[in-house]
Symmetry: C2
Subunit: 126 residues, 2 copies
């Protein structure tokens, strides 16, 4: 079960994919503790580089990610979690996937529509 | 088109997904130059952290990744490339996807079968 946390200063990359649709929902990072908690709880838990703390995805929104399958790559420095996403979206901006912008020529264009109102979930002025 | 290269020491995370099957094939990193080359050539180009150099995926195997769509996430520190994978597999160990191992209890198990012989493509003793 050993992953290689050495190549990214104690982190591995974690790609989150919807088990039903195959859609890539988000990318996060896990330190050893987040990886342990993810396995033990069955809910995807990340390490937030900006906040420098563990982050149970959905802790404020309730939109947790239930892990269905866990894979690792040839280098063991990344994991691919196939998940059941609880709630209408994983992105704090109100979208199903954080990858809601597509490159169109020289511009990023928002190509998805919001699946929920982030103000109603997170409050504030987001 | 601006991405945020500041959060990962000059790199963004790049997730590669097969456009036909939706399968996540690999995860790599791009610096600004790799990102520019990817856009200009249409072939996924990475920055190898271990070799500290640019890396056109497929430069030795011929298994290039033709970019069909490029997305970015809410933080603009990751890109999702939907690609047409040329050749039988992207993994240097002979698999279609680098994510060929699945967690089974406490063990990583190889759950995919090889799609090509890496010795025939890369030579050497791999």
């Amino acid at each position: 079960m050993d992953l290689d946390f050495s190549k990214l200063d104690g982190l591995v990359t974690a790609v989150i994919q919807d088990h039903a649709t195959g859609r890539v929902l988000m990318v996060g990072f896990m330190n050893e503790e987040a990886w342990r908690l993810t396995r033990e709880t069955g809910y995807a838990t990340f390490y937030s580089r900006s906040r420098q703390k563990l982050w149970l995805k959905g802790e404020s929104s309730g939109h947790r990610l239930v892990v269905k399958e866990t894979r690792t790559d040839c280098d063991r420095d990344a994991v691919l979690l196939t998940v059941e996403a609880q709630g209408p979206g994983v992105c704090h901006e109100g979208y199903e996937s954080c990858f809601f912008r597509s490159l169109d020529g020289e511009e990023w264009k928002t190509v998805d529509t919001r699946s929920y109102d982030p103000k109603a979930v997170y409050g504030g002025s987001k």
